[in-house]
Amino acid sequence: MRTDAQWRCALSVALVLMVLSGCSTTRNDSVTNSPMPTYSGESVVVMARSYHTGNKTESDFTRCIVNELRSGQNKLNIMRGEDFIDAMYPWFEPRTAPNDIGDMPRLIQNEKVAARMRETGVRYVVWLDGNTEMPGGGGSISCAAGAGAAGCFGFAWWENDSDYDAAVWDLDGQKEAGSLETKVNGTSYLPAIVIPIPLIARTRAKACDALAEQLQQFIRSGSAVPSVAEN
């Protein structure tokens, strides 16, 4: 019979292992096409590229980027993508959204669109593209249950690749100011000795943090520093 102390110890070890995470590598890259004007609080709208173009950016990734951009020392003035899309209806719908900054002049020829664009106060549009995939993995885990006991034994692992990029359009200057890219590759592990203990590489969350930080830097200072980090 196990004592309370033994149970508490086992539980603590399990919790410590659960907060540990798998290994990952983060690569940030950026391309600046034109110098950015000084940021003075203009609105920024963040949207995922249309699914009509085959984009699969997860909506929770877009929400994560928006929340990150709204927080911290370099926080930006963010307008909700849904509100912008409604305000510009029907010109930023999945079927009609401009694919390229070169499509904007024709759109703005519509006086109603131009006037509404001014009303929203949006200067920068950030288009998100990319997604998280699980390209491979291996190992095996077996679980069994009997009268009064159950458990698993084995080891499994899998990779996650989070690859996202963001194109920043300057609507006032009618140009694509630049593009930023974040790639996070990670490996998650699942050792199981009686209970499975997932050591998850949170690649999507890390990609969100890294891309949002790059975007804040880029919009505020006109450039973002390429970097590679392992953690």
Partner: protein
């Protein structure tokens, strides 16, 4: 894919799409459309399928789905045509058509959907196909074109299950139909670059008769 991965995906798909769903759409108004309005008065006669449409389907897995558009299509057409034309007059079945520039008759011809266990993704997809007939001032059929609308929505949470995903995808399909009408009606209805026949006003008609 690992055994764990397969287990997680299987468990997710089972949870998300394991028990069918029945949804009824609300008549959510569309945003005001930023389009140039045609200076025309049009009449619209809604087919019964636009006023009330229910799609029921039983999958091979025995899951039963029902998508009740109710009058959401009618609301969509009313909002869309209201933004496109200066005046829109609704005409009921059997009632005489007033003197107008165009008569528009929309109907729903098909609805299809796909759930995550079919698409093997996390996405719900809905296709709604409308047919739109446009008659000119003389009552002659000027155009008859399809409006194939599509909506796709990811399952936001396992708790929402099929209902939330299907509702979101159906709403997006209705919005897509409106977008197609707003941006392509002139081409589809054969109105681009054409001088529209103007209806005679009642005084002209009476003077002709005299």
């Amino acid at each position: 894919m690992t055994i764990f991965g397969r287990f997680v995906i299987l468990a997710t798909l089972t949870t998300v799409s394991g028990c069918g769903a029945s949804i009824k759409l609300k008549n959510d108004p569309l945003p005001e459309a930023l389009v140039e309005q045609w200076p025309l008065t049009v009449a619209v006669r809604y087919d019964e399928t636009v006023r009330n449409f229910v799609h029921t389907e039983k999958l091979a897995t025995n899951e039963k789905f029902q998508i009740d558009l109710g009058s959401a299509s009618q609301q969509m057409f009313a909002d869309t045509l209201g933004d496109m034309f200066a005046e829109v007059i609704e005409v009921t079945d059997g009632a005489p058509v007033p003197s107008v520039d165009l008569l528009i008759e929309p109907s729903v011809t098909a609805l299809e959907f796909a759930i995550p266990s079919q698409t093997v993704t996390n996405d719900f997809a809905v296709w709604i196909k409308y047919a739109v007939k446009v008659y000119d001032t003389t009552g002659k059929l000027q155009a008859d074109f399809p409006v194939p609308a599509y909506g796709k929505a990811a399952s936001e949470s396992m708790l929402g299950g099929n209902r939330a995903g299907l509702t979101a995808a159906t709403r997006l399909a209705l919005r897509d139909a409106s977008t197609l009408l707003l941006t392509r009606f002139d081409v589809d209805a054969g109105m681009r670059g054409r001088q529209l026949p103007r209806r005679q006003n009642p005084t002209e008609e009476s003077s002709d008769e005299n």
